[in-house]
Symmetry: C2
Subunit: 198 residues, 2 copies
Amino acid sequence: MSGSPLLNELIEALRCLPGVGAKTAQRMAFHVLERDRGGASRLADKLAAAVERIGNSKRCRTFSEEAVCTLCANPARDAQLLCVVETPVDQLAIEQATGFRGHYFVLLGRLSPLDGLGPRELGLDLLAARLAEGQVRELIVATNPTVEGEATAHMLSQLARQAGVRATRLAHGVPLGGELEFIDRGTLAHAFGGRLSI
Amino acid sequence: MSGSPLLNELIEALRCLPGVGAKTAQRMAFHVLERDRGGASRLADKLAAAVERIGNSKRCRTFSEEAVCTLCANPARDAQLLCVVETPVDQLAIEQATGFRGHYFVLLGRLSPLDGLGPRELGLDLLAARLAEGQVRELIVATNPTVEGEATAHMLSQLARQAGVRATRLAHGVPLGGELEFIDRGTLAHAFGGRLSI
C-alpha cells in the first residue's frame, strides 16, 4: 500500500475496467498522476456525464444521451434498410467495417429463456411496430453465429415474414486470411455449400 | 462512430490511460455502461479527487493528499532507516516486496542534466536537511541500475558521507529463477565479484 489512502482508492477503482488487474491499475494511477492530470480530469468528467446521461435510444435501443440517437435522427441514412444486432458493440463494428448507410436496431441481448431474455426483453414489440410502419424493405439479421444467436435470427426472420419484409443474413464462410486447414468443419461446410461462381 | 457523441468522447478520454488504444477504450466504455455503472461513477469520483487533492508529501516527496504522507506520519516505522528511490512506483514496489519498515525519500527523477534535472530538482537540499536532523543511521540507496541511476547513487553516497551517515546499496546479482546462460555480462560479473560464503 502506498502512503496515500486516496491513491490506493483510485487504484482499486480503476479495476472496474475490463482487463485491468492490480498491477495495471497501479501503472495507470501513477501514470496519470505523474504525466497526464489534464487527461485524468477529462476522463473523470466524461465518465460521470456518461453514467448520468447515457441511456438507450427509444427508436433503436442503442446507447444514446438523447431520446433518439444521432444515427436514427440522421435524415441522410437509408430508412429502407434495418440491421438488427445484439449489442451496441456489434453495431459499432458494422459501422466501422462496412459502408452500411441504413438504420440499426439493437436487441441488447439474444434469445435466452434461461437468463430471462425473451421477445419482450429484446424489444421485439418495438421492432414489429417499426416494421409495421412500412418504410423498411430489408431486415438485415446480424446476430452472432452462436446457438442463441441463430435462434434469435430464426425468430427475427419470422417477424419479417409476418410484416412482409425481406430478411437477409450475414454470409457465413471462410474468413479473409484464414487457411482452410485450420478452419472448423461447420464453417467450411457452410462456405462449401454457399460457393459462388467466379 | 457510435450514435452517441458523449460515448465517443468517453472512448477518446479513456485513451489517456497507458496501454489503452482505440479498441480497448471502446471495450472499456461499453463494458462499464452495460455492466458496471456503479464502478464507473466511483472511478470518476476517485479520479477527480486524486487529480485535485494528491500532491507531494513535504517530508518524503511521494504522492500524498496530506502535507505529510501516512508512511512518514506513522510512528511505528523506524526513523533510523531512510530508503531513497527515484519514483513513487519504486517505493510501492519495495513496500510490497520487502519487509522494510523504515522511511522513504522520493527523488521524483534521477540526475539528468540534459533534462534539466539537477540536485535542486531532486530535492537533495531537503534530503540533506533530513540527514542533518541526526535521526537517520542508514541511507539505503535504491536508485535504478542505469547510468543515470548510478550517477545519482554516487551523489547520494557523498551526501551521506558528509552527514556521517552509513550509505548502502541494493545488491546486484543473479535474479531468482534466472539462468546463468542468459544473464548479461555486467550482472554476471557483479554476481561473481560479490559472491558470498554458504
